[in-house]
């Protein structure tokens, strides 16, 4: 094989390796160091360096081989010196021939003293990004026109690699900043919603803290049902806001100490739809919050309001908020009654499951309570919400275990009935 063919094959191999290297978005320093190695090895040059122009006049040495890094980093270039270098021919950048003016002229002696023979501007999209400094060939031979072509092509590759890496860094930085801002916005949204929930509850002097508790119970149930973190956050918000429609209901009706008449009841029943109308125009970061507020008084048997939906027509989120809402109503004091005992509450849940409450939702809530009571979970949020002493006693675990078993059985039976129904149809 003649020498020119061999040189060609060697150069092609190096260009292929360089292409692969600059496409590597992993370790930047490794990429640049390997790139300069490839360039040096292609022409058997004994030393070289890659520098990036900094934001000011300074230079950052990103790869170096056989050259003193500190002498390179001491170089400075001003903006006026950059423009003439963008279009400079490589021959004019050979230090022994080079201009005595501008950047090259200023540092020619320093560079030659460091073993540098050639300075190649790294230009990307007509902008000077930095330089590749190269030493003499190991053979001592002069650079040929073909060598210049190879150097120019490889320098362009390295420049594009560095430029791409810096762009990706900027994109990553912006993405991180956007993530941070988004998290801040979500936190502000959550805080605003909690403040709003407190405002809703203040209207009803007997149920202060109700919305916050419904939010927390809903979150606990959804987590037990295996919902994603995002969905869990969403239903917590829905719990906080489920009674927002009460803002349009007369305060006297909400605060009526005893039973209300039919007209007042009808007025109070408007609150889920009113809540939907308030929440629907808002661009919530979570799905279906307005629907969960609208349907939290629907029942599986179709006797709920506002739309009288039945079982599968009711979103699962609304079923969760409905249970959390009723559970809180049963376990807090009201003007006309004391809160009910836990045994009584469990009995109510069992009795109304399948007609008012969803079996799987009641089962999930019972499991979450049992985990706290049995010490399986360290965090005792439900216990704290219900207050000291409410979930104490040996019978609590038994009540919950039995309720869970009943709910599992009922869920299973319901599935079998549904599949049998589907088979018949």
């Amino acid at each position: 094989m003649d020498q020119s063919n061999q040189q060609l094959i060697h150069t092609f191999g190096a260009l292929a390796d360089l292409g692969q290297e600059v496409a590597n978005t992993g370790d930047f320093n490794e990429m640049v160091q390997t790139s300069i190695h490839l360039l040096l090895g292609t022409l058997a040059l004994r030393r070289g360096a890659v520098v990036e122009c900094g934001s000011a006049a300074s230079m950052d040495c990103v790869a170096v081989w056989g050259v003193d890094r500190s002498s390179i980093e001491a170089l400075e270039i001003c903006d006026e010196e950059k423009a003439p270098l963008v279009d400079a021919t490589l021959n004019s950048l050979l230090l022994k021939n080079g201009s005595t003016n501008g950047f090259i002229g200023r540092y020619r002696d320093t560079l030659i003293a460091n073993g540098i023979a050639l300075v190649i501007p790294m230009v990307v999209r007509s902008e000077l990004k930095g330089f590749v400094f190269l030493g003499e060939k190991a053979s001592g031979a002069e650079f040929t026109t073909e060598d210049f072509d190879t150097i120019r092509a490889m320098t362009r590759h390295i420049g594009v690699g560095i430029h791409t890496h810096r762009l990706l860094e900027q994109v990553a930085q912006r993405a991180a900043e956007n993530r941070r801002l988004y998290e801040e916005l979500r936190a502000i949204y959550r805080d605003t919603v909690r403040a709003f929930a407190a405002a809703i509850d203040i209207k009803d002097k007997y149920t202060q803290g109700h919305s916050e508790r419904v939010g927390k119970y809903s979150e606990i149930i959804a987590r037990e049902l295996g919902w994603s973190e995002d969905e869990v956050e969403g239903i917590q918000i829905a719990g906080y806001l489920h009674d927002v429609g009460k803002l349009v209901v007369d305060r006297d009706i909400i605060n009526a100490p005893y039973h209300i008449n039919a007209k007042q009841s009808s007025e109070l029943s408007r609150h889920p739809s009113a809540g939907y109308e308030i929440l629907a125009p808002i661009n919530h970061p979570y799905a279906d919050i307005p629907l969960m507020a609208k349907y939290h008084h629907e029942r599986l048997d179709g006797r709920g309001y506002p739309d009288g939906l039945v079982d599968e027509q009711i979103p699962l989120g609304a079923k969760i908020v409905s249970l959390a809402d009723s559970f809180d109503a049963m376990t807090t004091d009201r003007p006309y009654r004391r809160r009910r005992s836990f045994e009584d509450v469990v009995q109510d849940l069992r009795q109304n499951s399948g007609t008012q409450f969803d079996y799987s939702v009641v089962g999930a809530f019972a499991r979450a309570i049992l985990k706290e009571v049995s010490g399986e979970t360290k965090e005792r949020r439900i216990v704290k919400l219900l207050g000291k002493g409410y979930l104490e006693g040996e019978q609590v675990s038994t009540l919950l275990t039995d309720l869970i078993a009943d709910m599992e059985r009922a869920t299973q039976n319901k599935k079998q009935e549904q599949s049998a129904g589907a088979g018949n149809s």
Binding site: Q7, H37, L40, T42, A138
Partner: protein, 124 residues
């Protein structure tokens, strides 16, 4: 016989013989370089880099060999290549590496040539 991961080497007096692998690229080149530096740091005055297993040397391999020659020069040590196949020899000739180092037919010839050569002066 000592090894540096997959790099074999041994010493004959103050000469270290380091065996290059079948493909001298970035990974294996860096291992050879480390081994050569280690041998020079432990007092070797000459390096024989044996290419009997080497089929191919790429650009990074060439650059690393030049680096080893540089380090050896700075340590006042001589470098001899041995058992280089025709293709690699042609590459070294073309790039001018053979103007910097002697190339011996095999390890024995390399060791013999070194024993006849007075040590080069150290470069500061």
């Amino acid at each position: 016989m000592e090894t540096n991961t997959t790099i074999r080497s041994h010493c004959v007096g103050t000469t270290a013989v380091v065996y290059a692998s079948d493909y001298l690229n970035k990974l294996t080149g860096e291992r050879i370089e480390r081994e050569c530096r280690r041998q020079l740091d432990s007092g070797c005055r000459a390096l024989v880099i044996d290419f009997s297993d080497t089929e191919l040397v790429n650009s990074i391999g060439v650059s690393i060999l030049l680096g080893i020659i540089d380090v050896a020069e700075r340590n006042g040590a001589e470098v001899v290549f041995s058992d280089v196949n025709n293709q690699t020899r042609a590459l070294f000739d073309m790039l001018g590496l053979t103007r910097l180092v002697a190339v011996a037919k095999d390890e024995n010839e390399a060791l013999t040539s070194l024993s006849l050569t007075p040590p080069p002066p150290a470069v500061n």
